[in-house]
């Protein structure tokens, strides 16, 4: 019990005396997970539109596969990316292993199915009248897509939030492809794992509390944007 209390005390003292090393770790966490999320959204949104609008063979299978990949174990993704990027692997010449880019690639793979699948659900549940009305009013396909995305954005943002939660909390993949190198690829979750290994439970717990606090702030900000957006439309 004292360990848990000490963890909270230490978390507050860490926040009060933010040192450069901890700031660097927090910043890298946000940079890696944020970049992965942006890339996953840029790839996932068009795919969800395609799945929502077009009819093609084996579409149902595609959606099932996407839904299954939402449960990809991070450690398996880490291993696959490791084998791809390893010097002895097919992409070894790019020298990306043990860099933040490798971590972004792994997390993009984890975030992509969540963003696409949840956006797809949001898009198919948009009232078909929106699409028909836009078409009747002479909208181009791009304009129709934008109108539907606009209607579905509550669900889309929820999907992005879910993906953000997954990648920020993830440790298995980035530990393998990043290597947890001090000052270079060490992020919040890998630091927590390392400090737990080293038996510094209070410090590990304190870092966990800070990680949760950061996630809370970001989710609150997204929620704020989401809500404001809704009011903007209803007016």
């Amino acid at each position: 019990m004292t360990s848990i209390l000490d963890g909270f005390v230490q978390a507050f003292s860490l926040i009060l005396h933010l040192d450069a090393e901890l700031l660097g770790i927090i910043f890298l966490s946000l940079k890696v997970s944020g970049s992965a999320l942006v890339v996953a959204s840029l790839l996932g949104l068009p795919l969800s539109l395609l799945l929502g609008f077009k009819r093609f063979p084996l579409k149902g299978l595609c959606i099932s596969i996407l839904n299954t990949f939402m449960g990809l174990p991070p450690v398996v993704v880490g291993l696959l990316v490791y084998l791809l990027l390893s010097r002895s692997g097919p992409l070894g010449f790019m020298a990306l292993l043990y860099t933040p880019i490798a971590m972004i690639i792994a997390q993009t793979i984890l975030a992509f199915p969540i963003v696409s699948s949840l956006s797809h659900s949001a898009i198919v549940s948009v009232d078909p009248i929106i699409k028909q009305a836009s078409l009747t009013l002479g909208a181009t396909p791009l304009q129709v897509s934008l109108a539907v995305i606009r209607e579905a954005r509550y669900g889309i943002v929820a999907g992005i939030m879910a993906a953000f939660g997954r990648v920020m909390a993830e440790v298995g993949a980035i530990l393998i492809v990043g290597g947890n190198i001090a000052g270079f690829t060490r992020v919040m979750t890998t630091t927590i794992a390392l400090e737990t290994d080293k038996g510094n439970f209070e410090l590990a717990l304190a870092l966990g509390i800070i990680l949760l606090a950061i996630s809370l702030v970001i989710n609150a900000a997204l929620h704020f944007i989401q809500k404001r957006g809704m009011i903007g439309v209803t007016q």
Partner: protein, 272 residues
């Protein structure tokens, strides 16, 4: 307000995609083991080397087996590990060159204070293992690490196959976690003295050393560079600078001067 939201988002994107500062000096990747990284040894010696040569050493800590494998695959430039037989084998296979002894510490067998398997007073680690098998629980790293390799070599010599036995727990974790599991289970385990000294008080381990000093428990650390004939991209020149510094008088003194928080010397330099 929506505009403000987009502003925040675009600012966030700008921050996220700023390129990291270009590396000022050459960097090499050193695959090493949890015992050297977690004990704080690297934190003590690397700044000295980096100051002298402006070569930055990036350490990836894994079990010895994985650390050697990293070098074999060309994902590291130099390996600093502790399983001499495995190291020599990898050199023989042509994956590494210029292997040197660097330092040593020793393994000890630890167990519960009541020592219910009655190991205390014994001299031979092998006999102790034999006595533990069947009469008490034994926790094994089970992760191909240097410590695990040493432990398995003792079982092998005894002709005992511990895997799958009820009294044998393979946990697949680092040394410190393994000690904690042994502590919780009132079991025996093999650990390196460095980790034991550094963690027994901090982790509040209710365990004691039941056997030490058997020459078979000698734990030699070695360093070797990745062979550039196998991996052309390997930074052989810089890796050799690191190797030569580690085995030089200066590097050896740096290792000898490293003490843990309680003032114990954890590694004894012995490069030739």
């Amino acid at each position: 307000m929506v505009k403000a939201g987009y502003l925040v988002l675009s600012a966030l994107c700008a921050v996220l995609f700023t390129a990291p500062a270009a590396p000022a000096a050459t960097e090499i990747i050193c695959s090493s083991t949890t015992s050297t990284e977690n004990s704080g040894l690297f934190g003590h010696i690397l700044p000295m080397f980096e100051k002298k040569t402006s070569i930055k050493v990036k350490v990836v800590a894994r079990g010895t087996g994985a650390a050697i494998e990293m070098g074999k695959r060309g994902d590291a430039d130099v390996a600093f590990v502790h399983a001499k037989e495995q190291e020599l084998k990898a050199v023989q296979e042509g994956f590494f060159v210029n292997r040197h002894d660097v330092m040593y510490n020793d393994f000890v067998i630890i167990g519960p204070p009541d020592d219910h398997a009655k190991i205390k007073g014994m001299k031979s680690a092998a006999e102790a293992f034999k006595k533990i098998s069947g009469s008490a629980l034994f926790v094994s790293r089970g992760d191909n690490s240097g410590t695990n390799t040493k432990e398995l070599s003792i079982w092998k010599k005894l002709g005992i196959e511990p895997k799958g036995q009820k009294w044998y727990l393979e946990v697949g974790q680092g040394m410190e976690k393994t000690q904690r599991i042994a502590n919780e289970k009132r079991a025996y385990t093999l650990t390196d003295r460095g980790t034991w000294l550094a963690t027994k008080d901090k982790d509040k381990l209710e365990m004691v050393i039941v056997l030490e000093g058997d020459p078979v428990l000698f734990n030699q650390y070695g360093i070797m560079a990745v062979n550039r004939e196998k991996h052309k991209h390997a930074k052989y020149k810089e890796a050799m600078e690191f190797v030569n510094w580690i085995i030089s008088m200066e590097g050896q003194q740096a290792i000898g001067s490293f003490k843990d928080k309680n003032g114990n010397q954890l590694f004894i330099p012995n490069a030739k």
